[in-house]
């Protein structure tokens, strides 16, 4: 399993720290504890107009812990991993639990529910090349991206800059229940932001990025820069469109944002706190037939992939909305108990208060080419960017700022902006009437482009 020569050595050291912390906590008389120890390494560089703006390099480390004693819970974290400091820290955390209150629901998984630490899935999340990218090379990648943006279109007048960042992390989760699991991964990304001048002092920015677990999977800087430039200039002259009801096509970035709202309503914490309009809807049709949304922690090289969850449970792919029907919520131990359901191995993090969370949460692709979504639309809106926080999970009320293009007779005709789109999320999902085939796993929450039969546009 060794991904680099250093990985086994780092994991062995972290395992030693985590096991020592667990032993210390046992001696302090806790009933249960989870200890997460991790180290990270990051580089971030930025350029603007070809000149370096930022070179930031850092190594970080951390230990975080959740302890339970007499059904009382406390959590804390520290960056000092020296033995004496950790022992003093753990003593304080156990004392903190004293001021908490007994919560019978706050029980850990039973040992037989834990993942088999000797047979954790290999998800190909660590690129041995990543840590070797030095500042000079990173600056060159960012420069290449920005130069491509300026070269792509002479209307690009300035730049927010381009940045390249990489990170790697190694970690160990150990519990008093006997679980000791290791995790390690890398990520890198390149972002280019180009700016064009428009009428009346307005600027139009275009942002595009590439990212992934493996450096070799990234798009080349030239294509990222060119796309950023295109995204800036294509919005030149954007104006409002008339208020009314229109069919809406969400491009995959905007579609992803809608799917992210669904995620916030199917995690157990939102459900048991009555903060989800889907709380009472298990088994109901909550989306159009043909809409399937899954949470899959096992995607190879997936940005949201995990070998085990934050409580040490085994993980698996879970269909959340299956052909339009809400089939399950995503549950950690606590939310499952609250709801009298079975946990799904969806606890986040490790060493904190576990919360139910998504891993790679995405809508399955359809069969249409993205352009085919426009067919048959006489007047409609193609949404490429949304703004603001206008979503109420309790009621499903959705109202957000939007930018995009007017659709006329099946074609994109002019850029539009400074408008809002609104409709209840329930009706949006039930109103999905076409799904494209352009899903990718660049982001942990993902979706293909899709079309919704109608929404209200507020504009001129």
């Amino acid at each position: 399993m060794a991904s680099t020569s250093k990985t086994p050595e780092i994991l062995a050291r972290l395992t030693g720290s985590a096991e020592h912390a667990v032993a210390t906590l046992r001696a302090l008389g806790v009933d249960h504890a989870e200890v997460s120890v991790g180290v990270g390494n990051e580089l971030e560089v930025g350029v603007r107009k070809d000149e370096p703006e930022l070179v930031k390099e850092a190594q970080s480390s951390g230990l975080s812990v959740r302890v339970m004693r007499s059904e009382r819970v406390a959590t804390s974290s520290t960056t000092d991993l020296s033995k004496d400091a950790v022992e003093a820290f753990l003593k304080t955390v156990v004392e903190m639990a004293e001021i908490s209150e007994p919560d019978p629901m706050a029980a850990p998984p039973s040992p037989d529910e834990l993942a088999d630490a000797s047979a954790l899935p290999e998800l190909d999340l660590f690129d041995p090349e990543t840590d070797g990218i030095d500042a000079a090379r990173a600056l060159e990648l960012a420069r290449a991206g920005e130069r491509a943006a300026f070269a792509a279109d002479k209307r690009i007048t300035t730049s927010e800059g381009a940045s390249f960042s990489r990170s790697s992390g190694h970690g160990v989760l150990a519990t008093t229940g006997g679980f000791v699991g290791t995790r390690y991964g890398t990520y890198q990304s390149l972002v280019v932001q180009a700016v064009a001048d428009d009428e009346g002092g307005k600027k139009r920015n275009g942002m595009y990025w590439t990212g992934g677990r493996f450096f070799a999977d990234l798009d080349d800087p030239a294509s990222v820069g060119a796309e950023a430039a295109l995204r800036a200039v294509r919005t030149l002259g954007a104006s409002k469109m008339p208020t009314g009801q229109y069919p809406i096509v969400f491009d995959k970035d905007a579609a992803r944002s809608i799917v992210g709202l669904v995620a916030s309503c199917v995690v157990g914490d939102a459900v048991y706190r009555k903060r989800s309009y889907l709380a009472e809807r298990l088994g109901d049709a909550v989306a159009a037939s043909g809409v399937t949304i899954v949470d899959d922690p096992l995607v190879s090289r997936g940005p949201g992939s995990r070998r085990f969850d934050g409580e040490g449970r085994a993980v698996r792919a879970i269909p959340v909305i299956d052909d339009g029907v809400l089939s399950t919520f995503l549950l950690d131990t606590y939310s499952a108990r609250k709801l009298e359901m079975s946990p799904t191995g969806s606890a986040s993090g490790g060493g904190g208060i576990p919360h139910s969370s998504v891993s790679n949460f995405y809508m399955l692709a359809g069969e249409l080419e993205p352009e085919a979504l426009l067919e048959g639309i006489e007047t409609g809106l193609y949404v490429s960017r949304m703004m603001g926080f206008g979503f109420d999970a309790v009621t499903g009320t959705f109202s957000r700022g939007a930018e995009g293009f007017l659709i006329e007779n099946g074609k994109l005709t002019r850029p539009v902006g400074e408008i809002t789109i609104s409709r209840n999320l329930d009706d949006i999902l039930l109103g999905i009437d076409a799904i494209a085939n352009d899903l990718d796993h660049r982001t942990s929450t993902a979706a293909p482009s899709f079309r919704v039969d109608q929404m209200t546009v507020a504009g001129s």
């Binding site: 850092a58 406390a74 002092g201 208020t243 009314g244 706190r273 009555k274 703004m387 206008g390 209200t456």
Partner: protein
């Protein structure tokens, strides 16, 4: 009684870089700054930070978790022209500090003889008088505060179905040392209570929330009680049980005093942060001296409001910040600078350099962004609207710096019909363009209010606490993003 002093004015220092065996002395500061500049950088600073936090969350009347911890470290920045080298150490170990300084130094590639740096300790003003920081209040007493909020919310109405509450308190100390020799120390307290409530009636479920705090200790609750927050959250949830779909389209909007200041933060504030103007990517670029709002509009960023969430005695580059007049009578007066942008524009550093922690570089940021009071009677302002929206509470906002389009999301709003506030509206988004929307300000009330401290601003992935405030304001036209076309 406070054993640390009788005047209760200045919180005692506990940061290990100030007091105790690991206190950082002037010799080490000078040495680290010298190392930071040895490759030829123009300027360097060290940012030592100690942050002790304590939090309690209560779910449905029961303590769910008790958390907290200490974060400690130092960031080293080297500025070479407009390029920044940055590194940090998560300890006070002198070797780790010097290693970070060497890493940050690599932004420059030359080498020079650094003149000895003479370190001078500078005294910061005192803009937050804290009797006892909440971090130091015994856990049981903090739980009791949450229990009072919880009980008040439940007692408000039988339709209250669920109450969650949280209390977060922080004792933060920073020590900023720069290569010009200035060393400034500050102790920055912070506390915030939040209450959120779900109410149910038949088929309908709605929510409401209330939050507040600031650079206060326990004395905050003498001004605003836990019961106030519990009752306020319940009130909003109950109002929303009767809400109806909001209208869609452009119409007059009256903004209630206080939290509506979020409009200024988004529509004006971000666009005037000088980094965007240095890069010429803001729609306000090059417009100082021009009209960017109705002549009724004066907007300031004021770091000195005692106790406000956004207030600071010293910025995160060690500058003592002053009030910035951003817009005066509709005319754009200036930008908010950090050291790099101030140098670029040839202006004095204005104390707007802020960062989330020692792990991040400082950026030009807002503190408390305010519109000053006008002359109009608030009742009269509402009476002047035939059909429009009265906007009272918000969940957040966002702006596109380049074109100036901003949104903010309403969580409590009402229809105005024939000069009267009538039906409550479902959550709705408002959208406008900064200068265009502010040009339509036709009335400004005399009822200025500062928002109770609950806002956090995000930029480039960094969060900092901010304050907002404004009087009742009428915009003749703003786009309301409802469903009723």
């Amino acid at each position: 009684m406070n054993p640390k002093g009788s005047d209760n004015r200045v919180a005692a220092s506990e940061a290990p870089f100030i007091t105790g065996p690991h206190a950082i002395d002037d010799t080490l500061i000078a040495r680290a700054l010298g190392v930071a500049l040895e490759q030829g950088g123009d300027f360097a600073d060290l940012y030592f930070e100690y942050r002790r936090a304590a939090s309690i969350s209560m779910e449905d009347g029961r303590v769910r978790s008790v958390g907290g911890g200490i974060d400690l470290g130092v960031g080293v920045r080297v500025v070479n022209g407009t390029a920044v080298g940055y590194a940090y150490a998560e300890s006070l170990d002198p070797e780790e500090l010097l290693a970070a300084a060497r890493t940050a130094a690599r932004i420059a590639t030359g080498g020079k003889v650094v003149a000895p740096i003479n370190v001078t300790r500078v005294r910061a003003p005192s803009r937050y008088a804290v009797s006892e920081n909440l971090v130091d209040v015994p856990g049981a007493d903090r739980v009791a505060l949450l229990r009072r909020a919880d009980a008040a919310a439940r007692a408000a109405d039988s339709r209250i179905a669920r109450v969650d509450a949280s209390l977060v308190s922080v004792h933060k100390e920073l020590l900023v040392c720069n290569s010009r020799g200035a060393v400034v120390h500050d102790v920055q307290p912070m506390s915030r209570m939040g209450v959120s409530v779900v109410a149910g009636d038949g088929d309908r479920t709605e929510s409401g929330s209330s939050g507040g705090g600031g650079r206060y200790g326990i004395e905050y609750f003498a001004m605003v009680s836990p019961e106030d927050h519990g009752q306020e959250a319940a009130r909003v949830a109950l109002v929303n049980l009767d809400s109806r779909p909001a209208p869609a389209g452009a119409m007059p909007v009256v903004l209630a005093p206080g939290d509506s200041g979020i409009l200024l933060h988004e529509a004006v504030g971000h666009g005037l942060e000088a980094d965007f103007n240095r890069k010429q990517t803001s729609n306000y670029t090059g417009r100082v001296g021009e009209s960017v709002a109705s002549e009724l509009v004066t907007v300031v960023d004021d770091p000195a409001l005692e106790g406000s969430r956004g207030s600071i005695n010293v910025d995160d580059e060690g500058e003592i910040p002053q009030e910035h007049r951003l817009i005066e009578d509709g005319i754009l007066r200036g930008y908010m600078h950090d050291r790099i942008s101030a140098e670029h524009f040839g202006e004095p550093a204005s104390g707007s350099g802020r960062r989330e922690s020692f792990r991040e570089v400082p950026l030009p940021r807002m503190t408390n962004t305010l519109m000053t009071a006008g002359q109009d009677d608030p009742e009269e302002i509402i009476r002047s609207v035939k059909k429009g929206v009265y906007a009272k509470k918000f969940s957040g906002g966002q702006v596109n710096i380049s074109n100036g389009d901003f949104v903010f999301s309403l969580t409590e709003g009402y229809l105005i019909e024939d000069g009267k506030i009538t039906a409550p509206l479902k959550g709705v988004n408002l959208i406008g363009n900064g200068p265009e929307a502010l040009a339509t300000v036709s009335k400004v009330g005399h009822d200025f209010e500062l928002s109770d401290g609950m806002w956090t601003c995000g930029k480039d992935g960094q969060s900092v606490p901010v304050g907002v405030g404004m009087p009742t304001v009428k915009l003749d036209e703003l786009t309301v993003g409802g469903t009723e076309a």
